[in-house]
């Protein structure tokens, strides 16, 4: 395999690489050994610290907390997808009085930290007489932020399509709605599917922010369990267990994104669009013509 950074290694380079490999292994082992030593020194391997996780009721509570995390994620994901399409259509509208408000909303929502948005909904709005459950504060804040990000993703997808696509649609006699609904959006969504799923992973990760506004999800339960002195305050075991669950959930969703990306890359048509969508690689006219003629760019 050829790389920009290095040539095929000769005998001295091979030796150097082996030495570097050994050094890497040693550094990683040192970090792991240090952590294990601290865990052992502070008695984290004692049976008492893990006793909590031998109770069925604790695991039932962990399950419930996980369901609450997933409930917030599901509602936020659906809402963000809907809002994303609405805002994207608004931003691409031909009417300035729709386009400008949509643009401002997208830019402002993307600039505000999700947590501050949650604070506004949960601590700010009661001042003006609107009270809501932490669940709704989490869901609405996640919908607003991820919806505005997804709007930009959809718009980038549509704009990455060759102009001939919409021109052909208009030539067939379709109206603006028809061109968007039948020609542009299906292709844009297919090309952008990996990015859309990656944004859903971000949504899942951000449900953990609900812990800070007392939404009783997994982290909240880990903190609750970790401060129970009757079972020896097992904060470290609780962090390990809950962390493993969170990482597992996100890895599953990321895996879906990778699988979708791999499938898309196999079908040539979308790959051409996705390649054109890479922001750092601008397509020249010649490449565009080549793409339209053969179906895949020559690179």
């Amino acid at each position: 395999m050829s790389s920009v950074l290095y040539d095929v290694p000769g005998p001295r380079a091979v030796l150097r690489h082996r030495v570097l490999g050994v050094v890497t292994v040693l550094v990683v082992l040192a970090i792991v050994a240090f952590l294990v030593w601290r865990l052992a020194a502070t008695g984290q391997f004692a049976a008492q610290k893990w006793e909590a996780f031998t109770y069925t009721s604790v695991w039932a509570q962990v399950g419930l907390a996980m369901l609450r995390t997933l409930a917030a994620f599901a509602a936020a994901a659906v809402g963000a997808l809907v809002l994303g399409f609405v805002l994207a259509l608004g931003r691409m509208s031909a009417h300035a009085w729709i386009r400008w408000p949509a643009t401002v909303v997208i830019e402002v929502l993307r600039a505000i930290p999700v947590l501050v948005l949650m604070f506004l909904l949960y601590y700010g709005l009661p001042v003006v007489g609107i009270r809501m459950e932490p669940y709704w504060a989490v869901v609405i804040a996640l919908v607003a932020y991820n919806g505005s990000v997804l709007a930009e993703v959809v718009r980038a997808g549509v704009e990455s399509l060759p102009r001939g696509q919409s021109e052909a649609g208009y030539a067939l006699g379709l109206r603006k709605t028809g061109v968007m609904r039948l020609i542009l959006l299906p292709q844009a969504v297919r090309a952008m599917m990996p990015v859309i799923i990656a944004q859903l992973v971000v949504t899942l990760k951000d449900t953990a922010l609900g812990y800070i506004i007392t939404y009783q999800e997994l982290l909240w339960y880990a903190k609750y369990l970790g401060t129970q002195s009757s079972i020896g305050s097992p904060i470290i075991p609780a962090t390990i267990v809950v962390g493993a669950i969170y990482i597992g959930l996100c890895l599953l969703l990321s895996l879906v994104a990778t699988l979708v990306e791999r499938r898309l890359r196999r079908s040539g048509r979308v790959a051409a669009v996705a390649a054109a969508a890479q922001p750092t690689q601008e397509v020249t006219d010649t490449e565009l013509l080549a793409t339209q003629r053969t179906g895949s760019p020559d690179r």
Binding site: V4, G21, T24, Y123, K205, L209
Partner: protein, 218 residues
């Protein structure tokens, strides 16, 4: 304006906290991320594997969980006494460790945008490894890394607010302090939002002007 003028001391501390988290966290993320990014494009398979494992795991961990581990699980593990300074340092570490994965990915994809032919041509001219890197590959990679790196830094700036949940003073925690002084929480949070929108717009403006100046003509 009363909310700000009457509580200047708090707003100053909060802004300072956010800036420390942003600058120190950013510096840590850039250093750690460059190391991990270099490992991911290195010719040593083990280093590539370790880098990929680190990025794959931490990128799939919620930032709140990283903060949780650093603020609650690490102090008893290392026997740290929690003072303001220690909490701040732990917060900086959490942000740095989390953001480093994004920095690493940005560097990796930046290096990958340089066409292989560039390095092959440089090697054919007889340039040494150091010359290939410093004269041909890295200048081009650097230019295509800058705009996405600014996006990573903007995300980092917004992520500093998560520290508010772990008793570290920053713009995100102004609300709880000002509520104790009897200020209107709604107005306070609107001001915090305004500050963030202004800061993010400033960074995006910098990003756009850098992008225009350093675009690679290819």
């Amino acid at each position: 304006m009363g909310v700000i003028a009457d509580n200047l001391d708090l707003w100053r501390d909060a802004l300072l906290g956010t800036l420390i988290l942003f600058l120190a966290g950013g510096a840590l993320a850039l250093v750690l991320g460059t190391i991990v990014g270099a490992m991911r494009v290195s010719p040593v398979p083990i280093a590539r594997g370790v880098g990929a494992f680190y990025v794959g795991t931490v990128r799939n961990t919620p930032l709140t969980l990283v903060f949780f581990a650093f603020s609650f699980a690490l102090p008893p593990l290392l026997g740290l006494r929690l003072t303001d300074g220690v909490s701040l340092a732990l917060g900086v570490c959490a942000l740095g460790v989390y953001t480093a994965t994004y920095v690493a990915e940005t560097i990796r994809s930046g290096v990958n945008t340089v066409p292989v032919g560039q390095a092959e041509a440089a090697r054919a001219l007889g340039l040494t490894f150091g010359q290939v890197m410093s004269l041909v590959v890295l200048p081009q990679a650097f230019r295509s890394v800058i705009p996405p790196m600014m996006s990573v830094l903007i995300a980092l700036l917004k992520n500093t607010t998560v520290a508010a949940g772990f008793s570290i003073m920053n713009l995100g925690s102004v609300r709880s302090y000002l509520s104790e002084r009897g200020e209107n929480a709604f107005v306070v949070i609107l001001w915090v939002m305004a500050v963030f929108v202004a800061l993010v717009l400033l960074l995006s403006w910098a990003q756009r002007s850098l992008e225009n100046r350093w675009r690679v003509a290819r």
